[in-house]
Amino acid sequence: MQNDDVIWDVIRHHHCSYMAKIQTGNFCRNPYNVTGICNRSSCPLANSRYATIRDHDGIFYLYMKTIERAHMPNKLWERIKLPKNYMKALEIIDKHLEYWPKLLVHKIKQRLTKMTQYRIRMVKLSKKVREKIMTVPRKEVKRESRREEKALRAAQIENVIEKELLERLNKGVYPDICNYDEEIFNKLLDKNKEEEQEEEEEEAEVEYVEGDYELEEELEDDIEDMGDFLKANNIDDIEGDEDDLEEQPTRKKVKKASVSYPLKQDDGTEKVRRKDKKVIVEVERDEDIGNRQHNVM
């Protein structure tokens, strides 16, 4: 026979496996408990007429148990699906629990309220975009840092950058870098002049200068290193051509000289080989620089 008081006595004073005692009080882990507190009126085991609301997949169900079915634990709990609308759910609760103790009905309605609130919040959160935190196994982290160190050592970045800059200088990308040494520049000027005079005396061989593409300007700042292929084949980047079309009007078309150390573009300091003895070289004038010397055969 079902006697609630006896059950409660036994449970409370001896052992209930659903009870969880923590600092603030006694709580009940039983999934059918309405309030969650271990209480004489809230214990689903010690009340033969009891009701709860449970949630399954976002849908709320009203569960009821009556003493008539106490001997059939299999069919003990009767469940009714509650609509998602809060007001309608309240009405249905009222309808089914019409003649039940008011306290229990009140607690059930409170529970329903809370559950609707947290359901709304869950839906809102899932719509929001949250950052997902992913962990990386320590082995991988260490491996990456090791590889990075070795790659850094293999890269020799400073050397590569310096080489690249010098190459660009040699190609003549920089028209007006003005931080060279004045003396040395002049010395080289003189030396080249001497050489020129010597050359004029002897029969100079025909020197074939590299093609006209050198006269084009390279305005780009960024020549991607596609391995050595591009340079080997002397192919300008496509971007170079396009840039030429849109060059700034203020820039003068300077003649490129493939010299290694006269750092400033100038006429007199060019190496001999740029001037072809047997061919008239037409040069566009730089407005700043003084008169050019033409060698005309």
Partner: protein, 352 residues
Amino acid sequence: MAKEKKRKAAEEAVDGDDYIEREDKKPKKQKLILASQIKNKEKRSAVYAKLKHEKRVEKRKKIKARDAASKQALELGEEPPEKMVPRTIENTRELDETVCRPDDEELFAGNDADEFSAVLKQQTAPKVLITTCRFNSSRGPAFIKELLSVIPNAQYYKRGTYELKKIVEYAKNKEFTSIIVVHTNRREPDALLLIGLPDGPTAHFRLSNLVLRKDIKNHGNPTSHEPELVLNNFTTRLGHRVGRMIQSLFPQVPNFRGRRVVTFHNQRDFIFFRHHRYVFEVKEKKEGLKDKKSKASQGKTEKKAIARLQECGPRFTLKLVSLQHGTFDTKGGEFEWVHKADMDTSRRRFFI
């Protein structure tokens, strides 16, 4: 039994074998005990030391022979024997069929039609929006300040709690050309998200080894001239695309008077970022110092132009984690390239 052992030992000693072999009962050709397999520590270390010594002696002999041969060849006026090239990981890199070739028409056509062509052809000036993840702390703001000085025409906006997709829309309305999101993890900038606009790809990089300007010794201070770009070693198609994406952050017309260079150097899939100011100098180098014997060549000074660099600005490494087609959309977007764990299995395989 003992007599047999002794006899064998005597035989082998007579043969003049290695000390190791005496312990071996089987004929010497079949089994050679490694030094590491000897259990006795003293003996093991002695054997190992002997081994190393032998190796070192051999190596020195080889080097001497090589040097002598090359010197001889030089004296005789012949060509010196070929220098041996050391085997490196870059030499032995796995063959990648996506490496860009210089004569690839498809590549150039692709370049014209891709998302960066507008900026790269100077039709639009690049305008960069920098922002952070939701919680920004410690080194993040300092890093962002330095980034602002490196990239011309960049602006910083606080993140607030906006969703990234909303930020993308906002930036599109204000006509930005790219967004950089600096992500912080454990009080350190950890990842960089580069989003091209209006519908450019999204590149997710992992950031590591960040060194701020104040921590660099003898650092320089960058000016506001437009920098030059150097992009090294972006060989494959993926690398080319990433390279163009990086290129589209910077203005295409550098101001050479500023003598500022920004480098993105790719080595083994790590992209190293450096920011320098450079100067060209003429350096005198005495020739003939190597060859002490020929006095005739001494005293001749050759002038060479060199470039000197002064580092300014931050220093960091990037590693590409994923490249997604279209603006930021992790769930619905199409990923062009994603790093997976089994890409790391081979030490000679790189993707950028």
